[in-house]
């Protein structure tokens, strides 16, 4: 599941770059670099997630019964509760 949308990533990257430039503090710069690396990893993960969702959909589509309309309409039962 891509939990972070693209615009968020772009903004965040821009912020991370800006932070690194402004700060002379080596520690902050290192943290910003780490963060940027983390986001890059996250983008790779997003791709991986998309791929794995794709694989899941392959599995689902191959396992579905061929007549969807028939499958759905078979499920009619009296109400409960």
């Amino acid at each position: 599941m891509p939990a972070v949308n693209k615009s968020q990533n772009t903004n965040a990257n821009a912020n991370a770059n800006a932070d690194a430039e402004k700060s002379a503090d080596a520690l902050n710069a290192a943290e910003a670099a780490n963060e940027a690396a983390g986001r890059a990893t996250k983008q790779v993960q997003s791709q991986e997630q998309a791929d794995s969702l794709d694989n899941l959909l392959d599995d689902i589509e191959s396992s579905l019964e061929s007549n969807a309309e028939e499958y759905v309409q078979r499920f009619v039962q009296k109400g409960g509760e």
């Binding site: 615009s7 991986e48 579905l64 019964e65 039962q77």
Partner: protein
């Protein structure tokens, strides 16, 4: 020790003044048979599923060694009512055990039906959802033991707004037909957040009747009625997401604790050590209640329906109401942590996880209405102009369909993996985008949706859960940003296969379910006639049989205190001994 016996002897419950609770979940399942030449009636499938129960009990109603009840309900819906649990986590394990029991019954029933009907490809589907294809509803009901001193009017005033708005994170989601030509990308369908909103009765305007569908006022405490009532919440979706089921119980429990404490403080009967000024919680609740009308417009049912349809302002208000309750509960838990934990109604880790997961999902919703909304300003302006063009050509309701569908799809991207309606929307949208070159028929989406709920003949949910686990594993420890980190540990509330196996055969700790479970376990290997229900165990009497030598004297014990797990109480021992023919 049983209380309120036939003799009339009563003893005050030890839990009248603490935060102890009894939790229970009743789940009705839907049935359907496919891949056969002719339609097989669900009632026939249900009877075959329950043949093992009938063989054992001569009825479609039995109790299991874990203390839970398994039976066929109205409309041939197999139902599983969990035994009494002391914590949300324990109730969740029992609910998962119910799924496992149904799955096992379904597997053998599928074989049976297949061979009896000569249909080798026959599939028996068991749906843990709340609507069939024709819109008939069946339920997932939550039970909470509540102190009798709390007036129902207070429960309604505080709890109803909470229950009406929790669907934004607890809803199971639903695919519904949409008006033709409404111009949105989702061809022919739109999404709703909960399967329950449409079955709520909005026809009656009197307050008590209006709230009736969320809380059923049928009051069967299965405990001393002078001390306790049973709160029967019937507004929830059946969730396959275990985090959703668990969080429903945990958050409702905390809200009930706040209500009970405010009633105690107002009555000046705080039995526990008073650690705050007498009216603190009452003031907090009053402050919360004072802002609710502006958010719910004094009609929580209407708010729930609108939020379920994805109406932007309703969803925003629902998240705001959840934020108020979440923050109030967190403050309450900080002040009363020791008493909450020592009451045994929620674990130490469990309390932290509940507050954190709740806060996280509400924050995810808020994010959509703040940061993401600003970032998407341009897109929304574009969307709005498209809508206004569309509204000239089509009725307003269709425009609402289009913008609310787009909004639901956007919001789904922000939700943690365990939020069921969002997981479903993401899955179906991914399916639709794969087939973007052709119109995806509504039935295809409905088929995937139903498969998601099918505990017996489908692995769609398991596939999604595995994917989520992989995602969690890859993200843990990777970053700590307030929002980037939020998906990293969500969904970890999960009952392991080992725990499910244990919960199928063993009752939860610390309630009379232990006594009932032991009774059933002994009864199943005994030769005497027996029966039981929630508050009652009985060994039936019999005359001396020709071959058996001696008759059995009738023994009965009433278990009126749900917190009483004493298997060595003399009346209980007598009944156990009677099972052994002594």
């Amino acid at each position: 020790m049983p209380q309120l016996r036939d003799s009339g002897s009563e003893r005050k419950s030890a839990h009248l003044h603490d935060f102890a609770r009894i939790f229970g979940i009743e789940t009705e399942y839907g049935l359907s048979v496919t891949q056969t030449a002719r339609r097989v009636d669900p009632s026939r499938a249900a009877m075959v599923m329950f043949e093992p129960v009938v063989r054992r009990q001569r009825a479609t109603n039995t109790y299991l060694t874990n203390g839970s009840r398994l039976y066929l309900d109205v409309g041939s819906h197999p139902e599983y009512a969990t035994s009494e649990a002391r914590t949300p986590a324990a109730a969740l394990a029992q609910d998962a055990a119910g799924e496992a029991v149904m799955k096992r019954l379904a597997a053998s029933a599928q074989k049976e039906l297949s061979s009896r009907l000569g249909e080798p490809n026959l599939r028996l589907h068991v749906y843990k959802n709340n609507l069939d294809a024709a819109g008939n509803s069946f339920g997932c009901h939550e039970n909470y033991l509540l102190r009798r001193a709390v007036p129902l009017s207070v429960v309604e005033r505080v709890l109803i707004p909470f229950l009406a708005t929790r669907c934004v994170w607890a809803g199971a989601g639903h695919v519904v037909e949409r008006a033709e030509g409404s111009g949105c990308s989702a061809g022919g369908v739109t999404y709703e957040l909960t399967q329950r909103a449409d079955v709520l009765d909005e026809a009656v305007s009197s307050a008590t009747t209006r709230v009736r569908p969320m809380i059923n006022t049928r009051d069967e405490p299965h405990a001393n009625p002078d001390e306790f009532r049973r709160l029967h919440v019937i507004v929830g979706d059946s969730n396959r997401s275990q985090t959703s089921t668990w969080l429903r119980l945990a958050t409702t429990h905390l809200v009930l604790c706040m209500i009970e404490q405010s009633v105690r403080e107002n009555a000046g009967t705080d039995g526990a050590g008073v650690s705050s000024s007498p009216s603190e919680i009452s003031e907090q609740l009053e402050a919360l209640l004072s802002v609710l009308p502006s958010l719910t417009h004094d009609d929580p049912t209407a708010l729930m329906k609108a939020a379920s349809r994805g109406e932007h302002d309703a969803v925003r208000n629902a998240f705001t109401v959840q934020r108020l309750f979440c923050d109030a509960a967190a403050a309450f838990a900080r002040g009363r942590r020791e008493e909450l934990i020592s009451s045994g109604s929620i674990g130490d880790y469990e309390l932290d996880e509940a507050l954190r997961t709740w806060d996280e999902v509400v924050a995810a919703g808020e994010y959509e209405f703040t940061v993401a909304a600003n970032a998407d300003d341009d897109a929304q302006v574009l969307q709005a102009s498209q809508n206004s063009q569309a509204s000239q050509a089509s009725p307003a309701s269709q425009t609402r369909d289009a913008s609310s569908t787009a909004f639901i799809v956007n919001l789904a991207e922000q939700m943690p993996a365990w939020v069921e309606w969002a997981a479903k929307v993401r899955l179906l949208e991914a399916f639709r985008s794969r087939h973007a070159d052709a119109e995806v028929p509504r039935a295809a989406l409905e088929q995937i949706e139903l498969s998601y709920h099918d505990i017996a003949a489908s692995t769609v949910f398991e596939g999604l859960a595995q994917q989520e686990d992989a995602q969690i594993r890859s993200m843990v420890g990777n970053d700590g940003g307030a929002f980037n980190g939020r998906a990293s540990v969500s969904g970890l509330i999960r009952v392991s296969a080992r725990e499910v196996k244990q919960a199928v055969s063993e009752p939860p700790m610390g309630t009379r379910a232990m006594v009932r479970g032991e009774f059933v376990r002994k009864a199943l290997t005994s030769h005497v006639e027996w029966s039981c229900d929630w508050t009652h165990l009985e060994v039936h009497g019999s005359q001396a049989g020709a071959g058996s030598g001696t008759g059995v004297r009738r023994h009965e014990v009433r278990l009126f205190d749900p917190f009483d797990d004493d298997m060595f109480a003399p009346p209980v021992r007598e009944v156990f001994a009677a099972l052994d023919g002594e």
